[in-house]
Symmetry: D2
Subunit: 370 residues, 4 copies
Amino acid sequence: MVGGGRDAFIGGVHRMAARLDGKIDLVAGAFSANAEKSRLSGEDLGLDPKRVYANYETMAKTEASLPEDQRIDFVSIVTPNNTHFPVAKAFLEAGFNVVSDKPMTFDLAEAIQLRDLVKRAGKVFALTHNYTGYPMVKEAREMVRKGELGKILKVVAEYPQGWLSQPSDSWRTDPSTSGASCAVGDIGTHAENLGRYITGLEIEELCAEFTTFVSGRKLEDDANMLIRYRGGAKGVLYASQISVGEENDVNIRVYGTKASLEWHQEHPNELIVKYQDAPRRIFRRGNPYVSDVAKKFTRLPSGHPEAFIEAFANIYLEAARAVEAVKAGKPIPPDIDYPTVEDGVLGMAFIATAVASANNGSTWTKFVSA
Amino acid sequence: MVGGGRDAFIGGVHRMAARLDGKIDLVAGAFSANAEKSRLSGEDLGLDPKRVYANYETMAKTEASLPEDQRIDFVSIVTPNNTHFPVAKAFLEAGFNVVSDKPMTFDLAEAIQLRDLVKRAGKVFALTHNYTGYPMVKEAREMVRKGELGKILKVVAEYPQGWLSQPSDSWRTDPSTSGASCAVGDIGTHAENLGRYITGLEIEELCAEFTTFVSGRKLEDDANMLIRYRGGAKGVLYASQISVGEENDVNIRVYGTKASLEWHQEHPNELIVKYQDAPRRIFRRGNPYVSDVAKKFTRLPSGHPEAFIEAFANIYLEAARAVEAVKAGKPIPPDIDYPTVEDGVLGMAFIATAVASANNGSTWTKFVSA
Amino acid sequence: MVGGGRDAFIGGVHRMAARLDGKIDLVAGAFSANAEKSRLSGEDLGLDPKRVYANYETMAKTEASLPEDQRIDFVSIVTPNNTHFPVAKAFLEAGFNVVSDKPMTFDLAEAIQLRDLVKRAGKVFALTHNYTGYPMVKEAREMVRKGELGKILKVVAEYPQGWLSQPSDSWRTDPSTSGASCAVGDIGTHAENLGRYITGLEIEELCAEFTTFVSGRKLEDDANMLIRYRGGAKGVLYASQISVGEENDVNIRVYGTKASLEWHQEHPNELIVKYQDAPRRIFRRGNPYVSDVAKKFTRLPSGHPEAFIEAFANIYLEAARAVEAVKAGKPIPPDIDYPTVEDGVLGMAFIATAVASANNGSTWTKFVSA
Amino acid sequence: MVGGGRDAFIGGVHRMAARLDGKIDLVAGAFSANAEKSRLSGEDLGLDPKRVYANYETMAKTEASLPEDQRIDFVSIVTPNNTHFPVAKAFLEAGFNVVSDKPMTFDLAEAIQLRDLVKRAGKVFALTHNYTGYPMVKEAREMVRKGELGKILKVVAEYPQGWLSQPSDSWRTDPSTSGASCAVGDIGTHAENLGRYITGLEIEELCAEFTTFVSGRKLEDDANMLIRYRGGAKGVLYASQISVGEENDVNIRVYGTKASLEWHQEHPNELIVKYQDAPRRIFRRGNPYVSDVAKKFTRLPSGHPEAFIEAFANIYLEAARAVEAVKAGKPIPPDIDYPTVEDGVLGMAFIATAVASANNGSTWTKFVSA
């Protein structure tokens, strides 16, 4: 692991998620840009001090020098956005597979470079757009794929949070660490990824309105946008971090010609499906009637709720499956179900397009090709 | 009543709402443009045949010729949009008070004329934006007025329906009867009115995307828009009639600097209030802790749900209070709580602005002054 | 109307319910045991003073003496429990149809007498167990009748309220006006009626635990019971008036061998149906897929919620249909769908059985035959 | 671990829960009464074959013979009920701490013996009544302890499931492995434990109705009971395994003189608190306003839902804390928050009392002292 030292939130989530299924052990890390903090974090985690590194460059180099059966199988990158790319680059070039937090890079240019690096390296690159790890999100995608919704006409994806409603210091609000966007980069990109994962729709153009409500802040803390998808579907998407009292209510509604669906991350075990001439149906995780793909990512029987960590762990499970294939000298299985470097490029293009629109008076802006 | 003959939906709702509190009796009507249908409808309703008229012109004239204590006190207009104005004009000029369905007129020019007519007539004009009749909507307004939400930053108002998801004939989809808009005129204007009623915010400009999903239809059946309010608040508003499986889910979320609120018309007895540092609170109609204004429009104790008809009836109750004042030769009470002709003008301006934006490539368009 | 004077809650509900559909007019009443209060109440209601009576005896007698086309068609009894019987008796004997609030009488003996009186009189007697007026309750009954749940195994009916959680004066807590039970008589009997209406199951025996939590109170304010139905099904039923913060949450769950259903009065437009091997289905009022019987008692399209008054009005609608038949010299239609005197007898037998069990150490007690 | 071999559900849950926080490693096991199955299960789990045992006796003995720093710290028992006691006994006598699944033993006599064994051994014994591991259940207990509900008057605890609604083979329905009860032993005891954990109330007597709905089954698959608590509070509790379409909906409502609370395991991150004169409040996990005890058992920020495994892991976390103390030669901390052997004895007494009542015609039966 790179990043995720003491006090970092997301590093602990990655560790719990990786650990859950008993297939992944944390054995090495550079947990902080501060060497001492890294050392102490490694101690907290009970690691062999020799494998707790002062920085990621040393880690990549040293681990690569270990005998093949002793070195790490992959690295998890859980640093702020501005270092995702250099860390990923270092480890890919040192011959390692990579799991990285999102947004994939600091900007789109880095994302395109990273895509090339991943292709050349032939290694696994998995991006933790964790909301696609939920079984009922996978169920939603299956329904769309099977045509149960008919043609998709409209997508409404919302991601309200309230945690930045007050003035605050966070690397997420600092353009030098976060990139050109706060709300869209941090959470809007999850909403976009979720919509694309479920529907497969591609954005053609969008019109984005960014607002910085908390004075003194340099990046937007609220973003609303209208979307035109290729093929005629329309979208409404928003990401907000100043929505007082909202916790982490990412939710999506997808409307088709035959049926519609609705999913709320805060009640993730349910998928609501609506029809014009039939009763609504509530699909619930863990039941015999859900699709095989939802079942595959389910650990507990129905009524025994699974939640955030389990969904996150599903990304790791699939990454681990790909890593095993690579270790065995086989190609990455084509049915692998984790967000890839390609998803990351599209996510960064989405951010870039939204920023361009917002900076240009919230005008309609073609999706940046990448 | 003008309109609301056999098979018309909204006429029956008006009649039930008007009748509920025992203060209003239906005594006369021109129920259809078809004289025979009007006659039969009057018969169905048990009216004195003499006061069932072949058309609204005759009704206005004849009723006005009756002795003061025998004529109608006010007329309810429940016809398609294109006749709201001429009917209202006829009755105002004949000296009657008016309750009218929305949108107020066929277009903004008529709305402005009507405003002048109402002012000159000195009569009551109440518009049935019925969703503002719900006690918990009034509670929401009170909270905003008392500053409990702090400064309002964001409004999300949604109105999804699915009833036009299939090809269909309806006067609402016909520009000659409905006006320049279908989704926005029919339901978007409710969402706009609801947001304005609760927050008092005024739209400065908006960017609207209209789509006609059902081929052959001449007006939009789906509209999404971004809104900039005077003073810096932002809005997302949509109206859709092709959202398969949605019934009548008008809902609103208002985000302030101190608290936020959420209300769903399909569960109208609850108002959810969210805070950053305190548990959410669920305000429920009929309880001792709600404001006097919510109590005033409440008929049943808590837990005995009230719903659509009762909210509609609240508009009639207030209109009746104003009519009584006018009959007694007094001014309309200043605290009257029903949508006025001014609300109607703003609603028509909203439609006109949205249509202009949509027709101009969904560009940002200043709110039409009126 | 008898009872329902100033300050009485349920009288106003009856009046709104009766008035809603425009088929019933209030024309006469004895609104209070206090003649002056009756007079003032009649004035409030705008009645002809000649038809506002000082007491029910005078009213029954005087109305009966009017020409047939001028007298009342039926009387609504909304007095405290102890006078239901004498009032009903007086009006039945004077030749009138009766709508009465529940519980039907003061005790079971009166109920049996009343049944005889109704039979002899050949008049309509409708009891306002209003919760059976909800369309989705009727839908539930249809499902059971059609066998969609299979054999019914278990019924859980709950009726928690909190309004008597503090010491209070109410005729409902006074045995001289309320009868031998408070919680069971006032609300438990609704829960029992609701269960019987939906399932058709007959109670064989029960074990009831009564508690008076508020000291000084003479009747139980909380009652829990286990039920054995004929044929082997089991039940849990409770009624509580000291459940702080509960408003009027009567709800029922019915479990069958093939499916189960759940309905909550505070969200009356939805009926939840659960299956072992299929997604839950949410049946919502006003949709094309509901049964004809639910449609028949529906006034508004789906998504335009109906609630308490409308359900109450459905009892009146059916009573009016029966009254019309009787007036026309025809028999009461056999498919009439309102709670009858027979339901009232069973309700009083239920109360008597529960009281007997509670008084006998909460032992299993055979359902009192009546 | 003892038990939990291939195909066993609960063993996997224990492993995930134990593993989640990175403090517990699985190093040894006797995973099945079938030695070969145990071997294969150990292989699946990647264990050192030397520490995969053919049976629990060998495991206890062999592990005890290892040097102190190489042997297991505690054993997890996840076998059917009839072997909980002998396995626990073997490990306690071999000097090990124990975590055991519930119900604690096959019958009450074993439970009492086990209590003595635990006391004598001075070791940790934690019982996985996992529902008490949920943060919002702990919050509920805190509220009761702080007097925020006033005096507790009534407890309604329900545990409906549907998985045994069809004929089936399961050790849980076999009295030789399950004990004298199925529904009460398997899930009713969770409901009882949950109620006791939150309220601290002690059962004085109860009246239990057992039903075996699926023919051929030897134990009850549905149980309803009325409860009298010491001090005057009353209870309704049921456990059902034939409630078609119910998944694992254990839920509890606690009514006090000042406030009431409600919690549903299928939506575990919320605790609903109701008041007579104030809006309902929804306490949500992970927020600054919850109590320290709820915070202590929380891993993720609000809105990032936690669920079943995390709650289960909280039992393991506390057990691990106690094990660490014992290893360090210190007493078990007095504030330890996991279900103890004493809870297990009370749970077995509850089962015994319910069985006695049911076998005696569902009569009121004093809580068996133990």
